[in-house]
Structure formats: C-alpha cells, structure tokens
Amino acid sequence: MRRVLSLDGEDRRVEVRAADGVLRVGIEGGGAELIARETPGGWTITNGRRTVEAGVAGGRNGELVVEIAGHTYRFAADQGAAGGSRRRGAAAGGTAGGRSEVRTPMPGKVVRLLREEGEQVAAGDGVLVFEAMKMQNEIRAPASGVIANMRAARGTPMEGGELLFVVEPAESA
C-alpha cells in the first residue's frame, strides 16, 4: 500500500507491506524500514533501537492523530486513498458532485431536529440545533436540495467532524 501523508504541512510518501506477521513501513528518503505491530490503542513502532507505543485516534476534520511519548502528531491523508476523501475545514463539510455534507464543528450533541430526512430545504434553512460547550447553534443547509443521510439523532454525543446530514441536489432526489 502506498500513500501520501501530510504532517505539519509537509507531504511524506509511505509504503506499507505485511510480512512475517508484522507491518513494514518504508518512508521515502527515510532510511531503514520501521516495524509496526498492532495494539488495542494503536501500534507499537520499532526502528531497531527503540520501540514506542503510538496511540492513534481520529481527530477533527478527518485527521489521524498520533500520540507518542506525550508528543502529538496530526496527519492529513491524501485524497487518493480508497473510500475516504480528505475533509476540508471544520463545520461546513464538503461538496462533491452537488452533494453537500454537513459535519459537526466540534464535539457536542444535537438538541433539536428542525427538519427530517427527505424534506426539501433552501440554502440557509435551519436543519438542526447543535449544542457544544453549553452553547446552542442552529446548523443550516449549505445549499438547496433534499435532506439525505440524516445521521444526527437527538441527544447522541458526537465527535468533532462527524457527519450530521447530507443535502442532495433536488433533481437527483
């Protein structure tokens, strides 16, 4: 598997292959391969001398957040990866082929649904009320269309960057 990962604004090419029961990760221009073994919270990574435990979690905006020995690294993945496109910015979400995805701006919960799946909305219509840090915000439709894929449910805690709903162009609905 080859991918490009972006750390601190710099793109790095990596190659992962499975062999002998471990993963071997090569980094372009990075010398010897690193060995990765899975753990409940992420991976142990060995560079021959040192073996560290790396915690891995999903962060806001679709980042991968890696923590090693108290240091935090935030990675954005390239768009080429199958099945997941790189997310842009917080809150607003992205638009692909006329679809608009709306995501949570930060961790919080939906306290009220104003529209249901299947309903027509105009750009700017309020769709739901989201509470974060004890403040309530109305989340509006970024485009006209039909509400699809309503993932938000009243009262369910959500992380930052989670999908709330999608607005599909009306003609395709």
């Binding site: 409940p40 240091h71 990675f75």
Partner: protein, 504 residues
C-alpha cells in the same frame, strides 16, 4: 456495619466508594442514567437502578428517584460522593425521614456550612480568622471602615453576582469614587445599592484541612492539602504537605479547623478551606461538608481509608483514633485527568476511549471511572481519572508523577495529561513557590512549543509517528475491504490484531 449501601453517584468517585464497600464486605449498589447503562460503576456494583435520562437533573439529581432506588434494592445507607446530591441538606433530611442513613454530616451542619454568610459567622464564632471585612456600609461609615480593613480591598454589592457592583481598590485615594460607582452600578443592576467591604487577598495559596468527626464527640484533622494549582477556581493538582506550611502553621490551621467543625456540630468527613497569604496568614474561605475529590492525597500520607471511615462513622462506630494517633508520612500529589484539551483553552473533549491503560507500580495509585471502550459524553463532569502518587518527599513524588503521566495510555480523547507533564517539570512548580495565579501566569508559556511546536525529541519521533499513521491507514482500509485472503477460524482467539495476523 451496613449490609448494603447505595452509591448515588457515577464516574471515578462511584468506583472509589464501591471499592471501599467491597473492602468492608458491604454490598455496593448504584444508580445510573440512560447514558451510563454500560459505565464502569454499573459493572462493578452488585446491582444498579436506572433513575432517568442522560441529563443530571433527570437522573443523578433526581432525589426522589434515587431514594426509590435505595428502597427497591434494599440499601440501608446512601453515599452521595461529591457533587450531585452531596451537599443538599434537604435531600439528606429526606433520606433520614425514609429511614435511609445518609453518609455525611447531619443536615443542620450541612445547611449552615452551605450558606456563605452563616459559615462565615460560624468561623468568627469559633475564633477562626476570616478575611477582614465590614458589615453593610455606606457613605461616611464606609470611608471610616476602609482604612481599618486595609488596601487593596474589594467593594462588593450585597445583592451582587457576576462581578456587577464589584470594585477592586488598590489606592486609598480612589476609594470614594469607586464606592460611588459600585453603589450606583448595584442600584442599576439589582435595585439594591447596599455594599460591603472585604480585604483583597493577593496571590493567595489555597490550603485546606481535612477534618473528621464521629457521633461521640471526637473531631480530628488529618493535615492539609495545597490546591493552589487551579484554573478559574477549578482545582487541577493537589498535594500534601503544602510546600508553604511549617509544622507550627499546620498545627494552627488544624486546630482552627477542628474548632470550627466542633462548634458547628459537624460529623463525618469535611474540609475547611483557607486562603493563605504570602505572609503566612490564613483566612477561612468555606467549609465543604462532604468528601473531596482530592481526598486520596490525605489517605496516602496518613495511611487511612477516608471512605471506609465515612461508612464506619455513619454506621455508628467511633473514629477509633485520637489526634495524637495521626501520623503523616511522606508526600503525595494528585493529578486530575480530565477530558479537556489544554492546548485549546481547556475545551471539553468527548468520544470513545479507544484505550485506557492507567499507570501502575510503586507509589502510584489511579482512581479511574473509565476503561478501554468507555464513552465520554458531554453530559457530565469531564473528570476521567485521578493519578495519585506518593513518595518519601516532595521531589520523589514529583518525579514519580511525571513517570506516571508518561506511562498512562489514554487514546481517543484529548486530556490534561500533557498539561501535567509540563507543569510538573516546570521550575516554578519544582520550587514549590507559587500561588493560585500559577496557571494563568505560567501555562501560556509552558503550553508554547506545544503540540504543534518543534522540539528535538518530537522531530526525532516524527518518522515513528508517520509509520503509525501509515499502519493505521492500512488497517482501516483492510477492515473495509470486502474480500480477505482467507476467513479466519471462528474459534480462534478473537481481536482485530489476531484476525490481521491471520490475514498476513
């Protein structure tokens, strides 16, 4: 001793109380909200009763439902922990009416200490120093009272709140103008122009004394805890002994706290909070009529189990020791690990905890309310776990605390772990010379070179982090792939790691 006790709380303190019950051979039962059905405290209890929805007011604060839970599960006593119903004198009285022993002070003592003015009066009565201040004053009387109190001082609206009608006066020549402003602001805001004056204690330390009383008139203290590392009045780190306290001062504060508790007819565990000024004078701040979050600090240096003691005393047993039997050994530090991001203004973090592996080994205790897989929801206090370390002296405890923080694995939510690593390693903390302004004064610089900053150590580990991110991508794509080389045996040990090993 009771046969069964209802633990009317959640999170780490519920787990703490359940452990004390087990250590005493008492059956612990709990209550939970809809959101907490699978929480650790529910798993560890013998039974649990669902008292309502996720919001605290619907569940943990719903006194009637909680008392009903005690009846259904046949509990003889109720331990409220801290927060929620712990300082609700009316609730304590209702428990007594229903024949349920409330593990805490008598309702009258709770009510008296819960009212700031009454508590201050009780302190004055007991000869405990309070922050110098005046009664309600105006005009000439105020002008006369001010120099007696001394500057800097605060002018406070009697009906005030949220800082309205409050003025800090440093220069005596500003007093008259400030008084007029405060009065007219109070009049405008509350329709009540009454104000009083209070000495402003600058850069105090926050030092509190643990007291304990039984039904037979015994009241003892178990030394102090220094809680000066705070952020907006929220304690973050507590330690004992206080680096600022001499044995004489400890004895003086301890005696004052015992006098106050005795005078108020106090029983069971309580804490008397003081402000300590840079000259070593202490002033009564308030009394917390309950178990404190930071009680383990005292347990480690005194060799006691305060929760077990609470249960014994509530069951009518005598304290069993006198002040002269109390021996304090070594030093202890507690860190409150909360789901807050210290690099983003301590914004609360929520989500599922992918892995939690607490620190362990010599001199390390961890009281946690979470396990791997727990969900941190926005409904409750963000406290996840407390790490409490001890050692023969403060410096040993400090180094051990750094080790414990580094050893802790907490993956999936942001936490205050990196805050503590930096604070514990900082020169001002190491010196012991700081006050309640520590976080406001030092965190801005300590947090720089922060998670996005560059350091040699961080750069050295960057390739390893890159490899971890790459491995994680590989795993997630594999988990999504429909086809895999060979289906793993259904009867093998389970787990993702195992399944992948088979795939390789």
């Amino acid at each position: 001793m009771f046969r069964r006790v209802l633990v009317a709380n959640r999170g780490e303190i519920a787990v703490r109380i359940i452990r004390a019950c087990r250590d005493l051979g008492v059956s612990p039962v709990t209550v939970h909200s809809e959101a907490d059905r699978d929480s650790l405290h529910v798993r560890l209890a013998d039974e649990s009763f669902e008292v309502g929805g996720a919001a605290s007011r619907d569940s943990y604060l719903n006194g009637e439902r909680v008392i009903e839970a005690a009846r259904v599960m046949e509990a003889e006593a109720l331990h409220p922990g801290y927060g929620f119903l712990a300082e609700n004198g009316g609730f304590a009285a209702r428990c007594a009416e229903r024949g349920l022993v409330f593990v805490g002070p008598p309702p009258e003592a709770m009510r008296r200490m819960g009212d700031k003015a009454a508590a201050r009066a009780a302190a004055v009565e007991a000869g405990v120093p309070v922050v110098p201040g005046s009664d309600i004053v105006a005009g000439r009387d105020a002008e006369r009272a001010a120099p007696e109190i001394g500057f800097p001082l605060l002018i406070k609206a009697a009906a005030g709140g949220g800082g309205m009608g409050m003025r800090l006066v440093r220069d005596p020549s500003d007093f008259s103008d400030s008084l007029r402003e405060a009065q007219s602001e109070a009049e405008a805001a509350f329709g009540d122009a009454r104000v009083f004056l209070e000495r402003f204690v600058e850069n105090p330390r926050h030092v509190e004394i643990q007291v304990f009383g039984d039904d037979f008139g015994a009241v003892v203290h178990l030394g102090e805890r220094d809680c000066s590392i705070q952020r907006r009045n929220q304690k973050l780190l507590e330690e004992s002994p206080s680096p600022a306290i001499s044995p004489e001062l400890r004895a003086g504060m301890g005696e004052a706290a015992v006098r106050l508790a005795r005078g108020a007819g106090y029983r069971n565990a309580g804490t008397v909070e003081f402000l300590l000024d840079p000259e070593g004078r202490f002033y009564f701040l308030e009394m917390n009529a309950r178990l404190q979050v930071e009680h383990p600090v005292t347990e480690l240096i005194s060799g006691t189990d305060l929760v077990a003691l609470q249960l014994r005393v509530a069951a009518g047993e005598p304290l069993g020791f006198a002040q002269s039997d109390v021996s304090l050994r070594g030093a202890a530090i507690e860190l409150r690990i909360t789901a807050e991001d210290p690099f983003a203004g301590f914004v609360p973090a929520t989500g599922r905890i992918r892995e939690f592996r607490p620190p362990a080994g010599p001199g390390v205790r961890c009281d946690a309310g979470i396990v791997s897989g727990s969900v941190v929801s926005p409904h409750y206090d963000p406290l996840l776990a407390k790490i409490i370390v001890s050692g023969p002296d403060r410096e040993t405890a400090r180094k051990r605390a750094i080790r414990a923080v580094r050893e802790t694995r907490l993956v999936g939510v942001a936490s205050t772990l990196p805050f503590f690593e930096r604070v514990l390693s900082s020169a001002p903390f190491r010196s012991g010379e700081f006050d309640t302004s520590f976080v406001a004064r030092h965190w801005p610089s300590l947090s720089r070179n922060g998670e996005d900053g560059e350091s040699a150590a961080r750069a050295e580990l960057a390739p390893l982090a890159l490899a971890a991110a790459a491995a994680e991508l590989w795993r997630r794509e594999g988990a999504n792939a429909k086809a895999s080389a060979a289906p793993p045996s259904r009867w093998r040990l389970a787990g993702v790691a195992e399944a992948h090993r088979e795939r390789l």
